[in-house]
Amino acid sequence: MAMRQTPLTCSGHTRPVVDLAFSGITPYGYFLISACKDGKPMLRQGDTGDWIGTFLGHKGAVWGATLNNEATKAATAAADFTAKVWDAVTGDEVLTLAHKHIVKSVNFTQDSSCLLTGGNDKIIRIYDLNKPEAEPQEITGHTSAIKKALWCNNDTQILSAADDKTVRLWDRNSTEVVKQLSFDMSVSSMEYIPDGEVLVITYGKTIAFYNALSLDMIKTVDAPASIHSASLHPDKDFFVAGGDDFKLYKFDYGTKEELESYKGHFGPVHCVRFSPDGELYASGSEDGTLRLWQTAVGKTYGLWKCVLPVIGSRELEGKAANGGVGFGDDQ
């Protein structure tokens, strides 16, 4: 008998959660960072959602947050016109990079030596973290605020999405545009999957998949509501999406079929990402919470416990299974 999804709610933020990112898998597990309009990004244990610490220092809403692969460094982008780099083990602020406008996006290279930033001043910047006082390399071209800037193609190229309704692929060395995609509306989110070079873009009710090297379109899928963010499972069999109607949708990547939808958030979903092992996905919402959702509902993982039902037991009818706590509202 299929079980109902029990999302795990991570509370603590007092304003909308606008961005989230996972680290890679480290000897201590994997981690999750959340960007919040309350200006206090938080680090959590990725598989349980347990709070580890809060990065204190920003003086405005934090719009973007990221972790390096080893989860030893964090970077945040904020409305106080700065991007900050943090020690993700001690929580100490390591670097403040002043910008001329709201910063929206931050991204580390694979070796954590460089940081990419983008924001409302329409300029993409590359900072060498070994020489932080040096002037960053600047990439200009976008005609509106940049929403997201990501390293791709082994950190030799950069993908950026802006409010000018374009997604651009840049060469890191020449700082020239290699290719460009234009849309009828603003792109709401972008995810880059290095393994397989897939780019996931959302706009309107559409989730679109592109080849990250050629920017050739692979496929598009339409959701029942306006989508703010989507994420492709590491095995590329599912993808999840969330947006205006507060729900999380799960689709089959191959057939484009909508498999499930889950209610739970009390506000629009702003960001959603799969964990690096694909066992769960995290969503951040206008309601100020993060929720963790199981990919395989009912499996024992993290805080979720698989309880096998006793055949013929009355407990199957309308009550949570033995010894557990049941929460949440879904279909």
Binding site: Q5, L8, Y28, L43, L292, C306
Partner: protein, 128 residues
Amino acid sequence: MRPHVSVLRLPRGPDPNGRGFDPNSPRFIALCPTTISASTETGTDSVQIREEQRARSVLRESFLRTLIAMTNKQVQFHMYERVKVEAKFGASDIDVLNFQVSELHTPIGVQKEALLRCQDVISYSFDL
């Protein structure tokens, strides 16, 4: 009505009194820079730093070799609160946070298998 998936507990929330990043967590202890800072604070003398690094390597190697030499031997541990115990040393974990011991003789009896918390150990000695 289908049953909900059970959970062990809810995710832990933030501590209202602090910003977190527990210095006693295994990750913090393993990844944080050593608290013994280099004696040359200004750090301009690279020869002195190299010498110090060589000394540190020698000390570290000796320490690791003592752990090997101690295996299966009777070791006396001096611990805080005037505690003296003796046990057969088994192994240390990778971050030297715990020592696995057997036949731990304590004032209240012999514990067949135990873990000693290294931060509680002041010194230990054994016969080669």
